[in-house]
Subunit: 294 residues, 2 copies
């Protein structure tokens, strides 16, 4: 047996991400056993039926016994209770990570409960879809996508490496950032776009929607996300999201003024700058690798 | 020959839309001749090489002789000069339409130059892509998409019907709106989303962009549009765009306040409203028919 081979994984929250992590880990190593934790029998039954988990539990403490790796995959707001519940039963050698979209608060909570130099290493695998639930789980959901791993200066290097290698075996590219840098970056490239998509979806009248095209469909795609999950994201990444909204509002006022003044050159310069930036970054970046929603 | 059969079309501006209209009209009726008007020899040569046009002209007056249908397909800002140039040579039976994304100003200009009860009928075929130029033209670009036709109370009914039938022969579904209703609706479902996409593209740092995912890619797709065309759209639909920005800014302030106050229920209610609306409209609408960008 290789050192630190993962034989048992406990996954707390068997939805799209938890279920997909389970299926991907089993696809990589069929001997891996997965203990799933859920709130509702129907979700746990669905996860068992999908072959994602081998045992079903309501109690995280029960599931983490003998686990090498614990993955928190519920909405971020529920992490604290699960961490507190599992602590007494958690093996000393187990690593705990998560799939949450915000990191500063999560890592703070993880280190407070499990110790500063302890077993918690934050992760943000950037994969998903607007669909929710274990029924949409796929073993290849993470393949080709990016996972941001967010150690602090207190996190032991070997634990960070083990978490990175876990996501890499699922086909992900890993990137390290501090929790704060992660939250600021993701506030700008993910959370703000989600907020704008939801507001945009509410603006037109029903008649207006009848003449909407693929531009509107794509611009509002993120509004199809799970409201409960996104509520938690906005609340746990409050500072960075408010900062991004503030910055965006300023730029919206600037564009408004350009249009109001009829400043043709100013408008064209702004649009050209945005197009050039997109053509030379996003459009190119995303040719090289598949990166999923989130 | 059927009454009002279209034998010759003059297309002013042989880019993506003009070229595609030419190819689609020829696919529907191979006997149709198309005269193309352009500013640059290289564009006209490309349109000839693509088989989109049969004759190439720098002068609109030259191209519209004997035409049954004239389609303005340059950026909207150039319509006035072309209309003035072609008027002396325009056959009395010819209909003039356009493919512009704004309608109140265009229809006003068209009726001022060609007469209030005259030959101008505004159209907005909602098809396109972020690619520009006749090289991307396709005979099926319009198939399955929506064309908004914008008569005024002065526009003769038979001319409106003939324009609608033309777009229908290209595979489009047609919808009638007044020019003002069109501009307000499209300001909300197309022009505002475009403005937001461009501003969103300029917000993150280069490092932030390195961890962007498909959510950001989709949310900024519209920022890849042609800056010159979109500058004209914002300027010609100034009032409706400013109104949409104003309304959007208010809703952004509301969301900002909900997040600032940590109002979990308020945030979830807003996100749920947006998701429900999207799931029951856009997601469903766009299953039924293919609608292209813009």
């Amino acid at each position: 047996m290789a050192e630190h081979e993962i034989r048992k994984i406990a996954i707390v929250g068997v939805g799209l991400l938890g279920g997909s992590a389970a299926l991907a880990a089993k696809a990589h190593n069929p001997r891996v056993k997965v203990a799933g934790v859920g709130r509702r029998q129907v979700s746990l039954d669905a996860a068992l039926a999908a072959g994602a988990i081998d045992s079903a539990h309501f109690d995280a403490a029960e599931a983490v016994r003998d686990a090498d790796l614990v993955i928190l995959a519920t909405p971020v707001g529920a992490f604290k209770n699960h961490l507190e519940a599992m602590t007494p039963a958690l093996p000393a050698e187990a690593i705990v990570t998560d799939v949450g979209s915000t990191k500063a608060g999560v890592v703070r909570t993880g280190q407070r409960i499990l110790g500063r130099g302890g077993q918690f290493v934050g992760s943000h695998p950037m994969a998903g879809s607007e669909f929710k639930g274990v029924a949409y789980s796929r073993a290849d959901l993470f393949a080709g996508a990016t996972c941001i791993v967010t150690p602090t200066t207190d996190t032991p290097e070997d634990l960070v490496g083990r978490v990175e290698r876990f996501w890499q075996t699922l086909g992900m590219r890993t990137v390290r950032m501090t929790p704060t840098a992660h939250d600021r970056a993701i506030g700008r490239v993910s959370h703000l776009p989600h907020a704008l998509a939801s507001l945009l979806m509410l603006l037109p009248s029903t008649a207006d929607l009848g003449v909407s095209a693929t531009g509107f469909r794509d611009a509002t795609r993120l509004a199809g996300g799970d409201p409960e999950m996104w509520r938690d994201i906005f609340l746990t990444n409050r500072v960075a999201v408010l900062g991004a909204i503030e910055k965006f509002s300023h730029s919206l006022v600037e564009l408004r003024d350009l249009i109001d003044r009829g400043d043709a050159d100013g408008i064209e310069a702004l649009l050209t700058k945005a197009k050039t930036r997109r053509d030379s970054t996003i459009a190119r970046l995303l040719q090289d690798r598949r990166i999923s929603a989130e």
